[in-house]
Amino acid sequence: MKINNQDIIRTAQQLRDEENLQQTVRPWHRHRSHLRIPSWLVAIPAAVFLGFILGIWTKSSNQQDAPLTAMVDTVYIKVPTPAPAPVPVPVLQETPAPQPTSTQPTVQKRNIRTPQTKKATGRPVAEDQIRYDLLVRN
C-alpha cells in the first residue's frame, strides 16, 4: 500500500497508545513527598498516646487492684448530716417566789392491801442456782 503522511501519523499514534498503556503510573499522593508531615512529628505523639494506653491497661489488672480494693473496704464514708436546729430554752423573765413549805413531816398511810414487793412466783432457783426469772434483758 502507498504510504502517505496520514498513514505515518496514524501508525505513530497507535504505537504511542500501546506504549502509554504499558506504563505503570504511581498515584499522586505518593509523589508529594515534599508536602508530607515529618515522620517524627507523627511518631512522637503516637508513642506518647500508646504509652498512655499501655499504662492504663497495666494499672487496671486485677492483681494491682486487690490492695486498692482492700483499702477501699476500710474507708468510712462520713455522710454530712444537717445540724439540728437549736431548741429555744425558755427563760423565765421573773424569778418565781419560793413557796412556803410546811415543816410538819407528812405521814403517808401504808396501804395494807397492796404489798410493797411482789412475790416471785415459779421456781425460785434453778439447779445451777441462778434466778433466770429475775434476769433482765438489756
Binding site: M1, K2, I3, N5, D7, I8, I9, T11, A12, Q13, Q14, L15, R16, E19, N20, Q23, T24, V25, R26, W28, H29, H31, R32, H34
Partner: protein, 188 residues
C-alpha cells in the same frame, strides 16, 4: 463564581484555576488525566527507560504543583505542562551530552520533497517504531510534540522557544526524513 461539583466534567484550565486556589483534588484530577500520557512521552524521549521516565513525570508535576499559584486564566494547561517537561528533558540532555544547539546545519541538509513509499501495514509499524527511535534531535522532539502529543504549532513554538515558521518547516522536513527512511524497507 459557582463551579460544577463534578471535577471530571471540568476542563484542564478550570481545574488548574481551582488548584491555584488551593484545591488539591482538582490538581489530583489533572494528574490522573495527564500522568500516563506524559510518562509515555518521557519513555519515548529518554530511550525507553521507564523508571527514569516515571521520575521525570513525577518532577514535572511537582514543579507544576509548586508553581500552581502563578497560573493565570487563559493560559493553556497542556502547553504549560509540556513546557516544564521539555525544559526538564533539555536539562537532562545538556548534562548528559552536548545537545545540538545550532540546528542550522541539519536544517540545511537536502531532503527530497516527493517521496513515495509502498509498504504493507505490519512492516510500516515495525519500521516506524525503529525510525522514530533513531530520529535525530530536534526532529524527534518536534514529531513527538506535534503528532504524538497533539500540540499545535504555536504551542510548540512557545514550548521550544523557536519561531513558528521554523517549527513548521522542521515538521515538514521530519516527515520527509521518515519517508526517506521508510523507503529502505520497501524491498525487504
Amino acid at each position: 463564581m459557582l463551579f460544577p461539583l463534578r471535577l471530571s466534567a471540568q476542563t484542564d484550565e478550570q481545574l488548574m484555576k481551582r488548584a491555584a486556589q488551593g484545591n488539591d483534588r482538582a490538581f489530583e484530577e489533572l494528574y490522573n488525566r495527564h500522568a500516563r500520557r506524559l510518562q509515555g512521552f518521557f519513555v519515548r524521549r529518554l530511550g525507553n527507560d521507564s523508571d527514569l521516565a516515571a521520575d521525570f513525570m513525577h518532577d514535572t508535576f511537582l514543579r507544576l504543583y509548586a508553581a500552581r499559584e502563578t497560573y493565570h486564566e487563559g493560559r493553556n494547561f497542556r502547553a504549560w505542562l509540556y513546557t516544564i517537561a521539555y525544559n526538564l528533558w533539555k536539562n537532562h540532555h545538556r548534562n548528559r551530552l552536548a545537545i545540538v544547539s545550532d540546528c542550522s546545519a541539519i536544517d540545511a541538509l537536502p531532503v527530497d520533497d516527493n517521496i513515495e513509499v509502498e509498504l504493507d501495514e505490519s512492516l510500516l509499524r515495525d519500521a516506524l517504531r525503529f525510525i522514530l527511535k533513531t530520529l535525530p534531535e530536534p526532529y524527534a522532539m518536534l514529531f513527538s510534540l506535534h503528532y504524538e502529543e497533539e500540540l499545535s504549532v504555536p504551542q510548540i513554538a512557545q514550548i521550544t522557544d523557536v519561531p513558528e515558521g521554523t517549527v513548521k518547516s522542521r515538521l515538514h522536513k521530519t516527515m520527509n526524513i521518515i519517508k526517506q527512511e521508510l523507503r529502505k524497507y520497501e524491498n525487504k
